[in-house]
Amino acid sequence: MTEQHKIELELLALRVREHIIRMSTDGGCFIGASLSCTDLLVYLYTEVLNISPSLLKDQDRDYLLLSKGHDVPALYGTLAELGFIEKERLLNHLKTIDSIYWHPNRNIPGVEFHSGSLGHLLSVGIGIALDMKMRSGKNRVFVILGDGELNEGSIWEGLLVAAAYQLDNLVIIVDRNEFQANIRTEELIPLESIDKKFKAFGCFVKRIHGHDFEQMEQTFSQLPFNMGQPSVVIADTVRGRGLPSIEHRADRWFVNFTHEEVEMLLDELHGEKESTLTSETIMVR
């Protein structure tokens, strides 16, 4: 990856993060999880997925499914930056005149399916992958899972089926930000070693740093990792990535900031000093 290319990706990710921060007021959003998967979404949409605003109805397009739907601000931001939706439309966040709310839905161009209830879109992705196989398509399904979402039994049930049907056109990406809602995963329901678990379920697993574009390039260029096996990428990420005042904070899962705090966070994103935040997290779980 050239330095120039890397800078372009970083700038794009920075703009997506700005969108996310702007969505964290007037009702708020799940800011932490959105920031953790931003770099992954930016890389996938620009470098990996065969998808664009003109291919939205193309039978041969790749699919991206956001199974942990609460990080949708990262997806809205990415879709807006890449021209799937008008950037101005993000101003409609949480307004009844539009459908840009806390979880994804198909009223937004680029969103393939709704989510919000954890543990659903792996099985939906399996159905899409099965159909692609039936049509002998070369296209693929990417499913983004949260690490907390791995608590759901339906994930492991789905993996059995994906492995049984040898879905090597299925790519599962785990946003391993180490938190589930308000608690560290390893303090509540320990997940490690995640790699071994997925491997034992018949997947081919790679683990990467989820904010490193060069590692993403090396990894995603090798898809499918192995013929006849689902590919799994465990991406180690940081919840709240880009904002030190939010990073690693268990209590900054869902926050509704004041307008002043949003301005501070935007400055912080651009390298200014850490914000002094007083808005409390809202315990929605």
């Binding site: 039978q59 198909r106 393939e112 399916f113 709704h114 209830s117 543990g119 659903h120 879109l121 792996l122 099985s123 939906v124 992705g125 399996i126 159905g127 899409i128 992958a129 099965l130 159909d131 692609m132 196989k133 039936m134 039994g153 339906s154 049930e157 789905g158 059995l160 089926v161 049984a164 049907y165």
Partner: protein, 318 residues
């Protein structure tokens, strides 16, 4: 023509038809060789089956999914509601051994709240065929329809001759008597028909309504029956809460009507697990027992009418 023969026939011209099962192959045993990769058995994973059916539907397929009615509607309920319901996807859910047909399996296998929970999902339609013939004849229309459907599967042979072809939301009225109207669906059509014959021998004029689709419901058929007959009887192998009795009750409230209704359903309890014949007699659902319950109710109604008329008479004198 059997159910699976019909599916095979439809699949020959409808290339988007996909048959899925959570390892319940009883109804579709011969389809794997016919359908090839359009036959998908996901093993005992009802949730994954429903999610995958949603994915297939997003790609233009019409999945017909099979599992035991209780596990299909209960284990996978949130997937049905969230993926199929919110998505309004054309997935057809076929529930095996519903109601009394689970016989001696015990309460774990008794799908007797399936109608109740399925009808609460926006977009979902419900078909409860009286017998195999009715099921097979309705299949092409249901598969063609772009809504999700829940179907109570049956292999029963017909006890009545069906003259009217299947139409969504249209009940089959097999006799239009004026004393008692029997409203039923699915498996209970058989015993209800026996009850009708017994009542008629006693000189009671019976209207017989096989509802076929519980959602949409044939409002006209129910309302006319309530206006024209002195007693409405709802007969179902389902909990009293949420099934046909509830549907009919909601309908009367909606139309600001009063009606004399006798429900025959499972009142807040699971049924005694046993062989079908014994279940029916133990629970009081044989044709004879149904007829007897109706006779008692008719006599009570008559007596209360007499009291009412007497009181009216007394008031007039005063």
């Amino acid at each position: 023509m059997t159910y699976e023969e019909k599916l095979k026939e439809i699949s020959e011209h409808n290339h988007n038809l996909v048959v899925m099962t959570a390892e319940n192959r009883a109804a579709i045993r011969n389809l794997p060789s016919v359908l090839g990769n359009r036959f998908i058995d996901v093993g005992i994973t009802e949730q994954t089956m429903i999610g995958a059916a949603a994915g297939l539907a997003l790609r233009g397929r019409t999945p017909i999914v099979h599992a035991l009615a209780t596990f299909l509607t209960l284990r996978a309920f949130e997937f049905i509601r969230t993926d199929i319901g919110i998505g309004n996807l054309p997935v057809k859910l076929v529930g095996g051994v519903p109601g009394f047909l689970s016989e001696a399996n015990g309460p774990t296998h008794q799908a007797i709240e399936d109608v109740s929970i399925m009808r609460g999902i926006p977009n979902m339609k419900i078909f409860c065929p009286a017998d195999h013939e009715e099921l097979v004849s309705a299949l092409p229309l249901i598969i063609q329809d772009r809504s999700p459907w829940y179907i109570r599967y049956t292999t029963l042979q017909p006890v009545v001759k069906h003259y009217d072809s299947f139409t969504f939301g249209k009940a089959e009225i097999l006799d239009d008597g004026m004393d008692v109207a029997l409203l039923t669906y699915g498996f209970m059509t058989m015993e209800s028909w026996k009850a009708k014959k017994i009542l008629e021998k006693r000189g009671i004029s019976v209207r017989f309504i096989n509802l076929r689709t519980l959602k949409p419901i044939d409002e006209g058929a129910v309302i006319h029956a309530a206006k024209e007959c002195s007693l409405i009887v709802t007969i179902e192998d389902h909990f009293l809460i949420g099934g046909l009795f509830s549907i009919v009750g909601e309908l009367f409230l909606k139309h600001n009507m009063m009606a004399n209704v006798l429900p025959i359903a499972l009142d807040n309890q699971w049924f005694k697990p046993a062989l079908l014949h014994d279940v029916l007699s133990y629970e009081g659902f044989t044709g004879e027992q149904i007829a007897a319950k109706i006779m008692v109710r008719l006599q009570q109604t008559e007596r209360s009418n007499e009291v009412y008329h007497n009181e009216k008479h007394v008031k007039q004198i005063l």
